[in-house]
Each structure stands twice: as C-alpha cells, then as structure tokens.
C-alpha cells in the first residue's frame, strides 16, 4: 500500500518533528490552532500532519478531541534507563538467597525487554536476543500471551525443541495466559530452560515486568511446585514496587 518514498519532502518531515517538539514544549492539551500559530505552519498542513502523527501514535488526542499530548510511542525514541528501586532489589536478593538458579527481573516496555535486575552470578541472554525470538523463551511468551498475538513472520527454530508450529504455540500461550506462568525447556539454548511469572500493576492489572528463573533444561521440566510458589510470592511482592 505504501509506495517507496524518495525522501524528497524534507519540509514535511521537518514540520512533523517541529510539531512533536511544540507539543512537548507546550504541554498536555495544546490545540491544533495554537500549534499552527506558534510554528507558522498553515492550518490545513498542521491538521494533516497532526492526524498523521496521531495515526502513528506519536501523539494522542485528549478526550475533548481538540487537545493533544505526547503518545507512549515517543518513549521509544529516548528509552529511559530503567533501574529497579532499592526495595525491589532487596526482594530479588532474598529470592536469590533461596534458589540456586539465576533469578532475573525484566521490565516490559511495549515489545522491548529491559533487564532491570539481572542475576550478577548467572548473566542472562542478551535482552534484544530474547525480544527477537519471543516465542522461544518464557519472558517473551508472557508478553505474547498478554497481547494475545503471535509474532509476524516464521518462527525461528533455535534448537530442535523450539515450538515453531503456530497452532501449538497458540495453545501454549492460552495456557500461559490462564496460569500466568511460562515454562520453556531447551527451546532457546538446548541445555537451559526457564520459568517466568508475570508481574502485574496492582491497579489495572497491566503486565509490567516478568520474573524469571533460569536453570538446566531437564530440571526446569520437573513440576517444581514449591519453586513456582516461591516465584509467585516474590512476584506479588515486586508488583507494587515496579508499577
């Protein structure tokens, strides 16, 4: 549907960026007329660019439909370095004292993963690597189950055990959504596996983070009832600290 662009409309791009800056500077609720006047861009052009930026979700319209604010997507442009609050680090330290596997705390920002408290003794896989293959790891499956969608394109087979059948994955995700627990044994690295539980905001139940334990694949496959219970308890403790 989109024709290849030539990049020969520098003025439109410049104006769009100026509008973003103007909304950021003017604050929540600035109107199209005010933006047009402040930037001396013709009204019709301003409205068109604003609608475009709203369609792409860089801007949002406020409920009166006349005012604008920066959308969440803007956060992708300058991701804030996340670090866990001290209280959350304490919870993680206590968890690590009780388990022998690597314990990692990951925050979700849309479809990105941010290790806010990786286990220093068991360095985790690179976050971008995990985000690239969400179907093959526990933390990614929590995110997929939350948004109830499968990744675009074919599912990469990282190990012989990786689930690459879309229907099979869908069934697995329904289970993850029901239990709030994602388990993966040898699907990302042949010898490793992980247990991941969701951490949800206490208010609206949004998925904000995931708490994962990584260990040997065969051990992860065991029922691990007590371990999962322990994981859930710590996740519940972390929820109010992260949301």
């Amino acid at each position: 549907m989109t024709s290849p662009i030539s990049g020969r409309q520098p003025q439109a791009v410049r104006s769009a960026l100026l509008i973003l800056e103007e909304v950021a500077a003017a604050g929540v609720g600035v109107t199209a007329k005010e933006i047009s006047a402040a930037l001396r861009i013709p009204p019709a052009t301003t409205y068109r660019l604003l609608n475009l930026l709203v369609a792409e979700e860089y801007l949002v319209r406020l409920p009166d439909l006349g005012g604008f604010a920066l959308g969440r997507r803007i956060a992708n442009l300058a991701p804030a370095p996340l670090s866990a609050p001290t209280a959350a680090r304490d919870v993680m330290r206590r968890l690590r004292e009780r388990v022998r596997w690597g314990a990692h705390l990951v925050a979700y920002d849309r479809h990105r993963f941010l290790f806010v408290d990786p286990d220093p003794d068991h360095p985790p896989t690179d976050a971008d690597e995990l985000a690239r293959h969400p179907h093959a790891n526990g933390l990614g499956r929590l995110l997929l189950a939350e948004h109830d969608e499968l990744p675009d394109g074919p599912l990469a087979r990282l190990t012989p055990r990786t689930v690459v059948d879309r229907d099979e994955l869908e069934v697995a995700l329904v289970e993850v959504a029901r239990t709030g627990l994602a388990r993966q044994c040898g699907e990302f690295h042949a010898a490793r596996g992980c247990l991941a539980v969701a951490i949800r905001a206490p208010g609206d139940g949004r998925l904000v983070a995931g708490l994962a334990l990584t260990g040997p694949a065969d051990r992860v496959a065991a029922p691990n009832t007590e371990l999962i219970e322990l994981l859930r308890e710590h996740a519940a403790e972390l929820a109010p600290l992260l949301a």
């Binding site: 549907m1 709203v54 604010a69 959308g71």
Partner: protein, 484 residues
C-alpha cells in the same frame, strides 16, 4: 509531573479486544459489508434499465457522492475510534438528537441489510439448488428457508468468535466471488455478439431529452448509490483495530474506490452484452435455464453472489452488534446488550438477540407466499434509506465537529455541503417514487423512532445526553501521564 484531570484510566468501551485487528481485517469488514461481488452482478442491470447508455454516468455520479461522504466520515475516523461507527461520530457534531437519529438509521440500515443478505441467499441459493436438482418454485422456497436458518446460525457463531477470524473468511470469500463474477462477465462479453443496448425504461426516460436522458441518469443514481452502502462499516471497528486512525480511514476510502472501479467495469461489460448477465443468474431468468453454453457461467455467477451475500451477512451483523453494544454502554439500549463474551471479547449477547429478527422476517415472508423478489426489493429499499439518512447526518456533523475543536478547513465544508445536497435530493426522489408499502413502513419506523426518543427523554435523559462514547485516550496511552 503534568496532571491531566480529564483522563480516565479505563476506556468506556472496555470489554472488546482492544487495538488488535490488523489492517487487512479492517479492510475486509468494509469490503464484505459493501459486497461488491453481489452488487456488480445485479446492480448494473437496474441502473442500465433506468439510464440506458447513461448508466456509466449514473455510477460515476454515485461514486463522486460516495467519495464526498467518505471524506466527511474520515474527518471523524482520523480523530476518534468508536464502536458505534457513524452515530458515535454524529454525536460529536450534532449532539444527542442527531446521534439518536443516526443510531436509529444505522440500526434500521444494518438490521435490514442483514435481512437483505438472508433474503438474497434464500432467493439466489434456493433458485440455484432448485435448478441443479430440477425442483419447482415450492422446492426452491423450501431450500431457501433452510439456507436462511443455516446461514443465520453460521454468521451468529462467526460474529461471536470474533472479527479476526471473520475478517479472514470474509476477505477470501469476497475475493473469490469477485474473481468468479469478473471471469463470468468477461466470458459473456467475449462470447456474446455486441448488440444495441436496451432502451431505457426508467421513470425519468420520458423527459424528452433523447437517448438515456439526464432524467434517466438521475434515476439510475439511486440503485448505483445502493450498491455502495456499507462501505463505512469499518468505522465500527475503531476500538478493535490496531492503529485505528490510520487503518480505518484507509479501509473506508479504499473500499469506496475499489467498489467504484468494479461497478464501472461491470457496467461497461454489461452494456456491451445486453441481456447476457440477465440470462446468467437464476432468479432473473425465472425458469430453469436450458442446458447450454451459458449454464456453467450462470452457476458460477450464482455461487459467487450467494457467497458474497453470506460474507455480507456476517460483516453487517458485526457492525450492527457493535452499534447496539455502544448504545448499551451509553445506557440508551438495555445494559445486557453491552455484555461481551468472556473469551472471544465480542458483543455476544447482542448477536444472539439480533440474529433471529432478520431471519424471522425472511422466513415469515417466504412462508406467507410473498415472491422472493418482492421481499428482497422491499428490504433493500428500507436498508438503503437507513444508510442514506445516516450518511446525511454524519455529513452534516463533520463541519460542526471540526469547528468545535478548531480544525475546520474549507475543503470539508464544500464536501459536506455537496454530499448533503446530493443525499437530500436522493432521499426526496426515493420518497416521491415510493410504493404505498414502503411509505407505510417508513412512517412506522419514524413513529417508532420518535416514540423511542420521547420515552428515553423521560426515562433516561442523562444517558441520551451522554451519547457518543468512544475509545478515549486513557492514562496508559499518554507519555508520562500515568505509571510507567
């Protein structure tokens, strides 16, 4: 931190599967509701009957009017995402009165459209099966009723299962139907010797202008417009579409454009082969066709038309239940209609309450011995008027809405004025030429609508004043407005 006092933490239309439907699904909804496959097989004949050689002009005028209406609809669709489609839009420009009128027009339009598709499947499907199996009219009617029941249950299940699955199915059906009908039309054009087009027989043909005449062209605009109805239906997926402000306007304008091209092509082909397509479809031929070189074509065409009607039934139902869902969430309709399916996140209660009504209309009509053509024609007329009224209201609302939020431009005013004038003229022509039965039906609907308004004013005044809920920006959508 900036405080935004008016922002809610939960959307008033929560309960639907929010922001998950991809652009092809949104597009499928509009295309399937418009059902270009069925319309391109049948409508050109009606338009040619009225306008003769001027049929192309009739379609061109209708396409321009639809383009103007689309321009007014996208004014809203680029700025707000609603489950109620046009009536939620109208509320932003004309207030509760306009919104209520538009909601009634939409419920009538989409409800009747579902009935139209049921009647169409019953008529074409029944005739096709009777022809293949060699049965008479009574046999065809019986098969028709059975088809309606099967279709009603199928679309109800499809609508509850969700618009994602439905969208995929509808797009495939519509694409196959269009392909099938195009092949048949072109084959007919190639195998039939070119002849003279039929003489115009429409009401306006006696205007003394010679040839088809301007009058004939004007009369032909109405059936041509009727072929486009439903192109707006993607607007009711505002809550469910991913990036709705981009995908919904695009779906609406693309549907209108694609339909216009298909209709013009179909009209050209049918003008070149007078009577060809008329012979090809079962109902228009009336009698079982002789087994000749046209039989494969007519079967193909009928199958395409029936499939197109089936997809249209599902799509129109999708929109109808979302309008009812939205009305229920506002408190205007019973609250039960606003309940969604726990797993599929669709307005399931509204589906099960709604589907039996159009099915019953068609079954009762057939059982009472009314000719299928009469049932079908009557339903199409009422549905079309419902749609035209809704389009008129949304066109009137567009400039007022833009003026309110301070984004009015000249282009929208021009589009609104031209589209409104054309729609008013069309409605006036329809009413002037309407049969007594249609007038009585319209009067009945107007009285019902007005009565509903009076009762609601007294019992649920607050709900009426609050009409027009839509998927507002919530704290979660705004950068730094809520918890990260």
């Amino acid at each position: 931190m900036t405080r935004i006092p008016v922002l809610r933490s939960r959307s008033p239309v929560a309960g639907l599967r929010r922001r998950s439907l991809r652009p092809p699904g949104v597009f499928a909804q509009s295309v399937a509701t418009t059902a270009p496959a069925g319309a391109m097989a049948s409508t050109p004949l009606l338009v040619i009957a009225a306008a003769g050689n001027g049929a192309l002009w009739s379609f061109a005028i209708a396409a321009v009017v639809v383009g103007l209406v689309a321009a007014c609809i996208t004014v809203f669709a680029r700025r707000m995402a609603a489950a109620g489609g046009l009536y939620s839009f109208t509320a932003q420009g004309l207030g509760p009165g306009g919104a209520y009128a538009c909601a009634v027009a939409m419920v009538v339009g989409y409800g009747m459209l579902v009935a139209v598709t049921f009647a169409g499947v019953s008529w074409y499907g029944g005739a096709l099966v009777a022809r293949l199996a060699g049965g008479g009219d009574a046999f065809a009617a019986g098969v028709g009723v059975a088809l309606v029941v099967v279709l009603a249950i199928t679309v109800a299940v499809g609508a509850v299962r969700g618009v994602r699955l439905a969208g995929r199915v509808m797009l495939v059906i519509e694409a196959v139907s269009i392909g099938l009908i195009l092949v048949v039309l072109v084959a007919l054009a190639l195998t039939t010797a070119p002849g003279t087009p039929p003489a115009p027989v429409g009401a306006g043909s006696g205007s003394g202008l010679g040839g088809p005449g301007l009058g004939g062209i004007a009369v032909g605009v109405l059936p041509a417009l009727a072929a486009f109805i439903g192109f707006d239906s993607a607007a009711s997926l505002g809550v469910e579409a991913r990036r709705p402000f981009a995908s919904i306007p695009r779906a609406i304008t693309t549907t209108a454009a694609v339909a216009a091209v298909l209709y013009l092509v179909a009209t050209l082909v049918q003008l070149a082969t007078p009577g060809g397509a008329g012979r090809a479809t079962s109902p228009t031929s009336g009698v079982p066709a002789t087994v000749g070189d046209l039989s494969w074509a007519s079967v193909g065409m009928d199958v395409g038309i029936v499939a197109s009607f089936g997809a249209c039934a599902l799509a129109a139902l999708n929109t109808l239940v979302r309008v009812l869902f939205s009305l229920a969430r506002e408190g205007v309709a019973p609250a039960a209609l606003g309940r969604t399916h726990r797993r599929h996140l669709t307005p399931a209660v509204a589906v099960w309450v709604t589907v039996p009504v159009p099915a019953a209309v068609v079954v009762v009509g057939t059982a009472a011995g009314v000719a299928p053509a009469t049932v079908f024609g009557g339903l199409v007329a009422v549905a079309t008027l419902g749609f035209l009224a809704a389009y008129l209201l949304v066109c009137l609302a567009a400039p007022r809405f833009l003026a309110r939020i301070g984004e009015l431009t000249g282009g929208v005013v021009v589009a609104s004025v031209l589209a409104s004038a054309a729609l008013v003229a069309t409605v006036v022509v329809v009413v002037l030429h309407a049969s007594a039965g249609l007038l009585i039906t319209l009067a009945g609907l107007l009285v019902l609508g007005a009565g509903g308004w009076v009762v609601l004013r007294r019992r649920r005044g607050a709900a009426l004043r609050g009409m027009g809920v839509y998927d507002e920006t919530t704290t979660a959508d705004v950068l730094a407005a809520g918890p990260r």
